[in-house]
Point group: C2
């Protein structure tokens, strides 16, 4: 599992700071999360292959999280993309993107499939054999979701000595790895648990931006390996966080602690601060394992 | 008069090439022409003061000419702009921008005034004491206008010897400069032409992008000091220019020659070519005074 931060600043794109966008590689997927202005240039800069992106998740319809989407969709068309593209985002996203296509008289030659979100409860929005994606309802000035990416339980591992001892035909090993009980050479039913153990522990990643401090999300993100939680402000500006429905670094760390996550990554910084180190210092007064997002930085989780 | 090229490439933004946008400074105005994705970053990079922009002219609603507009309007809001902003562009531009504002629940605290264009004849769309702006109807895949920026005739200059000889009170000098006949100290009417001469010759700039080769524009842009004319392709790719409604460098130069312009600036290059010098060489087979637009380049006209 690998996270690439394309942009992690709030509000407006600048020469050296980009609005929100990131790519999470999980199993065979390359999911794009949010798409602020300039995202397609960041994708090129950080050598993300455009055709590997088949799913885009948009948290909310503030410009710094989606003004790059119409351009990216248009660039996919110019690159003669053929693969389907799924876009998950708040209701309205389909109208605004298709209006731009209509005005440009530029329709995609690939299938563009919108999944509009309206629920205020966490819901499963994507699933295949290996991965699940859930929404994380957040509290912001407009309807906003975070996203929880979870690997499914992988194959079980054979306890090879026990397998041999129980006289199981090699033809059944596949079934065992998939968790089934099997009949051995002596016609006896062998319980799966007796001869296998859990496989690699599945990894999980939660993206939570933008949001005010919201404890309701804790059960949803409980024990995730990595939590990206916005920290637009430092505690000294908590008075700004409240009306704008953003969080401070300390609040992000409090959520991380309550959810007992592995690592907290901070991001969505206001550009008013001259250094990011204050965010880390502040968060670490509450929760130890803190990393700072930076444009272009990658995080590998194992 | 000063032109700053913010972006002069076609299609998609890349790390080192930006889609169309430019700023023309004429008299006290700073007009922004087109606004592809990333324009606000280019404005910052090239130190254009955001609050000096009060008029934005959008040629057409293809993404590479206007996907940066919603973000720029939003950034003006974040910068607590108060001055009115006038946006000139094809019908539909108001709907698509206001839809994005509605979805973000982010209305501007300044007046945002749309001037939607629908005419297929050249029309005067802006005028004050010093400057006029006309549309230049172009031929592209969607409704498109170029823009002609013209300084008005300035004040006349006094032929000071003639003024003194004709015994004119200094109180009338202002009137003379404005072109009026005046009565002299002896009560005699003095013809303006007798005692003044033309002032500084007014400058003009024509922006023509995107367009197929279109001779109809020649009378509109006749004798302009500077013509920016798109040249997406070289002649070797004329077969691509025709269906996409773009021009070759040679076609741009042919228009420049017919219109007898001062300088031709080429731009809106396809990124398929490894060097821009081919564009200049090709155009110069038809018309001598050719310059190449490049992102960040400025041109001063006198």
């Amino acid at each position: 599992m690998k996270l690439t931060i394309l942009g992690c600043y709030s509000a407006t794109p600048r020469e050296l700071t980009n609005p929100t966008s990131q790519v999470i590689e999980i199993k065979n997927h390359m999911f794009l999360i949010d798409c602020g202005e300039g995202t397609q240039v960041q994708l090129r800069k950080h050598k993300v292959k455009f055709n590997r992106i088949k799913h885009i998740f948009i948290s909310h319809l503030h410009g710094d999280h989606f003004f790059g989407l119409a351009g990216l969709i248009s660039t996919f068309r110019l690159l003669t993309r053929e693969a389907d593209l799924h876009v998950y985002g708040p209701k309205g996203i389909k109208e605004v993107i298709t209006l731009q296509m209509k005005l440009a008289d530029s329709w995609t030659n690939y299938q563009l499939i919108f999944h509009e979100l309206t629920s205020t409860e966490s819901e499963l929005i994507f699933e295949d054999d290996e991965v699940e994606v859930y929404t994380i309802p957040l509290h912001h000035r407009v309807y906003t979701n975070g996203f929880l990416f979870k690997e499914k339980e992988g194959e079980r591992k054979l306890k090879i000595e026990a397998v041999l001892k129980n006289n199981i035909d090699t033809a059944y090993y596949r079934k065992l790895k998939q968790g089934f009980d099997v009949v051995n050479e002596d016609g006896k039913l062998i319980s799966n648990k007796l001869v296998t153990k859990s496989g690699k522990k599945p990894l999980s990643y939660a993206f939570c931006s933008d949001t005010a401090y919201k404890e309701d999300i804790v059960p949803i993100i409980k024990n995730v390996n990595v939590l990206y939680h916005e920290s637009t402000f430092l505690e000294q500006h908590e008075r700004l966080a409240e009306p704008t429905k953003h969080s401070t670094a300390k609040q992000a760390a409090t959520i991380a602690k309550q959810a007992d996550v592995g690592t907290l990554i901070l991001g969505h910084y206001s550009t008013r601060y001259d250094s990011l180190k204050y965010f880390k210092t502040e968060a670490q007064t509450i929760f130890k394992n803190v990393e700072l997002a930076e444009d272009g930085k990658t995080f590998e989780f194992n």
